[in-house]
């Protein structure tokens, strides 16, 4: 006689998409952060482009090298740095606690963050590419294979950085200390991973340290898309090593996901 009600299982993907929409709306309405996110890479591009206007290889200007690094660095900043700073603040304010107290599937929160970061990253990349092709002699890829590389390197890179950013968000003890903990990490990675300097000109040990982290492989993947085929010989291994790019980024996706699952906290540290 008793009616058996079906167990309620909210769909994480559907709610994750809704959360992504909500996060993007919130981002888009915060005027300062929109301007900063999109203008900062362009600003750096213009400054570096004006200062370092020399060739680093036959037919390859430093600016072109720098643009590819800037695209990867913008993805790191958008995904890793933004989330590793934003999530501790949300945790302090009780945003996460409210969500944890609702029937929202936990994964929907992460899906929403990834969507936000990914869309912002795509717009930022498009803007940098637009400026770079108009003023700094960068050429858009002409083959389907190169576009495909651009898509998968971007996707894997942003996913790895998102997961690492979420995992890293458990480190700062308080939201207001997060920028001090996170910014140096992101900045150092940019210096040693072939963004501001040509990677092969860095000390060997620095190259080896950088090779552990995703950004080095993201910049290398980007160079394979935008720089001439001949430049591959200038890379550390004498080739683009796309297989290794996929492997390292994939490994970071797995590591980031494992760290998220093991360490993510929905409440502040004193709420046990």
């Amino acid at each position: 006689m008793t009616a058996v009600t079906a167990r309620f299982r909210p769909n994480p993907v559907r709610i994750g998409l809704l959360r992504g929409g909500l996060e993007l709306r919130q981002f888009a309405r915060g005027r300062e952060s929109v301007i900063f996110s999109f203008m900062f890479p362009i600003l750096l591009l213009v400054i570096f482009g004006a200062i370092f206007n020399f060739d680093i290889a036959p037919g390859v200007k430093f600016t072109q090298y720098f643009v590819t690094g800037m695209i990867a660095a913008a993805q790191l900043t958008n995904a890793f740095q933004t989330l590793a700073i934003q999530i501790p603040i949300e945790r302090d304010r009780g945003v996460l606690k409210r969500l944890a107290g609702s029937p929202m599937p936990p994964s929907a929160y992460f899906i929403g963050k990834f969507i936000m970061v990914y869309v912002v990253g795509l717009i930022s990349t498009a803007l940098v590419l637009l400026i770079a092709t108009l003023f700094f002699g960068l050429h858009l890829p002409t083959t389907g294979a190169k576009w495909l590389t651009l898509i998968w390197v971007t996707f894997l890179g942003v996913l790895a950085c998102t997961l690492c950013g979420i995992a890293f968000s458990s480190i700062p003890r308080e939201g207001k200390r997060a920028p001090a903990v996170v910014t140096p990490v992101a900045l150092v990675l940019q210096f040693i991973s072939g963004v501001f300097f040509v990677f092969t000109q860095l000390p060997k040990w620095m190259q080896q340290v950088a090779a552990i982290f995703p950004l080095k492989w993201m910049t290398q993947g980007m160079r394979s898309v935008f720089l001439p085929e001949s430049f591959a010989q200038q890379e550390p291994a004498g080739s683009w090593e796309l297989g290794k790019v996929a492997l390292v980024l994939g490994a970071w996706v797995v590591i980031g996901l494992a760290l998220c699952l093991l360490t993510f906290r929905w409440t502040a540290r004193d709420d046990r």
Partner: protein
């Protein structure tokens, strides 16, 4: 499952929780019936928040048995979460989003949500539905929190110090909302610092201090309040007079004869809930 569980929304037996060797909750028993408004009173650090957060499934207990809507909150799932509503103390995260956007979004989390427009209306934010959350006043922000707590049509609602920082008018309006929810059959567990709030809303209050539940009773009889000595106050020839007495009627009749009619500025009082409460937690400290 015993017969009692059908009627009770919350059952707590021998609840214990310690932080680093110090007991925050030290053997608490609570029974909240379905449809009841139950207020938990106590000074800061008494174990109120810890107790409530264990019931909400946020914290793990060290010892004791807890059933909330016939489930152990430590094993909360989406099913159970959909049946409870939590209004937390912390607020202020939605900034750029409008009231309607936030409430509509949260409605998607629940299997059988209420109409978001109706919920916004019900918490008194109808005129603010298109306002960004950051432009709301403290009281309006709190109403938004409540809207998010009730949009899933919960059977049990947790309200943690819901009217802190409200002006008197906003508090009265908020009380109406709580009464309205209770009348619709929602079980409500309320924590508050305001004794008049507990008196106005709760069927029963539990006083908690130093991790222990001192007494559970309807506000009108807490601490033997209904049987406590009355005090008769009046204006005598040499200034204000007062007389504690167990038989105020007799005393007033005698006084009236003395004044040959009307007694100047006559007032009879019994201890307020606040008097009783302060006495209870004061005694506990000794």
């Amino acid at each position: 499952m015993d017969a009692m569980t059908d009627d009770s929304a919350i059952t707590v037996r021998g609840l214990r929780k310690a932080y680093g060797g110090t007991a925050a909750v030290d053997g608490v028993d609570i029974e909240v019936r379905r449809g009841e408004v139950f207020a938990l009173l106590g000074p800061n650090g008494a174990g109120k928040t810890t107790t409530v957060e264990i019931l909400e499934g946020y914290r793990k207990r060290d010892d004791g048995a807890v059933r909330v809507l016939d489930k152990d909150p430590q094993h909360a799932d989406a099913d159970w979460r959909a049946r409870i509503g939590i209004v937390l103390q912390n607020t202020g995260e939605f900034e750029e989003l409008t009231v309607r956007e936030v409430v509509s979004h949260f409605a998607h989390y629940y299997p059988a949500p209420d109409d978001p427009a109706k919920v916004v209306e019900r918490v008194g934010l109808g005129e603010k539905r298109d306002a960004k959350a950051k432009t709301l006043s403290g009281g309006q922000q709190r109403r938004l929190d409540v809207a998010l707590g009730i949009v899933g049509r919960p059977e049990l609602l947790f309200l943690d110090e819901p009217t802190t920082g409200f002006d008197p008018q906003a508090r009265r309006e908020f009380w109406e909302l709580v009464r309205d929810l209770a009348a619709a059959g929602t079980t409500i567990l309320l924590t508050t610092h305001y004794l008049d709030e507990a008196e106005a809303l709760a069927n029963r209050v539990g006083v908690i201090a130093r991790g222990r539940l001192l007494e559970v009773a309807p506000p009108s009889t807490l601490g033997g309040r209904n049987k406590a000595q009355a005090t008769v106050h009046w204006m005598g020839a040499d200034g204000p007079c007062e007389e504690p007495t167990d038989s105020p009627t007799e005393f007033v009749l005698a006084l009236s004869r003395q004044y040959q009619g009307e007694i100047p500025e006559l007032r009879i009082s019994r201890p307020t809930l606040e008097d009783i409460y302060l006495k209870m937690i004061g005694e506990d400290v000794k």
